[in-house]
Subunit: 233 residues, 2 copies
DNA sequence: TCAGAAAATGACGGTGCGTCAAATTACTAA
DNA sequence: TTAGTAATTTGACGCACCGTCATTTTCTGA
């Protein structure tokens, strides 16, 4: 009987936690970072500010939590991509596709990631969550390193070069998309398409063998969505 | 006599403007974005808040102004790079070097650039300054487009691809450096070196002819600093 | 039913932004 | 020189948000 009461409390706490996160997410989607205030979350959850603070020590912790779970869904998509594709090139391209599809599924959250790396943010967010967030980045880069070290014959230096280049390119585009940087004005109608073309150029430079299965983004997109569907429903 | 009085006022205003910007810059360098408050600027300039607000309608405008002048110095460095280098590859590499050297000369300011592209920021900053900022980006991307269209034989599509890939890579690394993303933990000791290696790989993929004059970053750095010295003294 | 623990609350102090009526300074013309 | 006017400067004020904590409310188990 004692257990029951504790269990119930735990469940209640957890469901409230979910409520907080979902309200935070909605606020973020509807009003952006500026609209995300602890008071607003309190109002919309019908709890008081103090109660919210028992779950998260600061606004930044909430944002971090959202970003972390977004990162987790990305990782699981990446894993599916790596399982599915055969050639190295196909794998790389599908991993990038995972980024875009994950980003399109929850744009507001995916865009938070770049905030997490600012000093102002890191000063405030709790160490635990920051570590968790960094662990996700670590996992992804490790996946990329193994990806490039298997089946290419690259030595370890070249593997690093390859991973770094991919990483910076991916991050660059991500940020370009995130900031809504109007590439149209600069003459780039569809950044994602340009990205994939550039990525292929980079892979050419690395000497990664071609693979027709992954040259067209429109096609790849459908392919990727099928692979990732477990995460998209 | 009437003119003199007006002139004096104009000069006073301008010198105060410079004072405000220099104080803002110092605050930014010493305490980061968090330490940059209108009150702090007022205190340190010995003017009142109201007076500061006659120069800049909001904090964001000040940041924008700093970022714009940083962008201008970058552009002049890029122009020097383009004048100086002969081969396409050398030009591209020197332009990237300009980014790094400009960024290292004034890291706190260079890192602001990514802030300017957030929606929160753009909501607040004045349209005039935002336009000016965007014009700088426009200028740079145009330089890159001409760079890739001259002496390569690329058709206009390939020129766009080339420019986009370079742009995203450059921006990706810039952000990685800006956020102090500890690449060391991930195994990348010197991101800038990795970047240049990746850039060469990308240029290889594009089919841009090799040029020994620009393969080593340590060497290139010295070269670049000489070219840019007019901006660095 | 009730005492004591646990949890929720929101008023409060603190900080920063941006405004604006009042005070100060500068200018002009007699 | 001086009185009146225009321009400029000032900082107190209203507002919004953060994070805290004494008080109140709810829960628990005897």
């Amino acid at each position: 009987m004692l257990g029951t009461s504790k269990d119930r409390k735990l469940k209640e706490r957890q469901s409230r936690d979910e409520l907080i996160l979902s309200v935070a997410k909605r606020l973020l989607v509807e009003q952006g970072m500026a609209g995300l205030s602890m008071q607003a979350i309190a109002d919309q959850t019908d709890y008081s500010k103090g109660t919210i603070y028992q779950h998260y020590g600061c606004k930044e912790d909430i944002v971090a939590k959202l970003a972390i779970s977004c990162g987790e869904s990305l990782i699981s998509m990446i894993d599916l991509a790596l399982q599915h594709a055969k050639s190295v090139r196909h794998k790389v391209v599908l991993v990038s596709a995972a980024y875009f599809i994950n980003g399109q599924a929850q744009p507001e959250i995916a865009n938070l990631v770049s905030n997490l790396n600012t000093p102002e943010f890191q000063e405030k967010v709790s160490q635990t969550l920051l570590d968790e967030f960094k662990k996700n980045e670590d996992i992804i880069i490790k996946r990329i390193l193994t990806l490039f070290s298997q089946g290419t014959g690259f030595d370890s230096n070249k593997v690093m070069d390859a991973a770094f280049g991919w990483w910076s390119m991916q991050w660059g585009v991500q940020d370009i998309l995130a900031k809504g940087w109007n590439m149209q004005d600069l003459g780039f109608a569809d950044p994602v398409q340009y990205f994939f073309r550039s990525l292929h150029i980079y892979l050419d430079g690395l000497g990664v063998p071609e693979d027709e299965a992954c040259h067209d983004w429109a096609q790849l997109r459908i392919q990727a969505q099928q692979i990732f569907q477990t995460n998209c429903e």
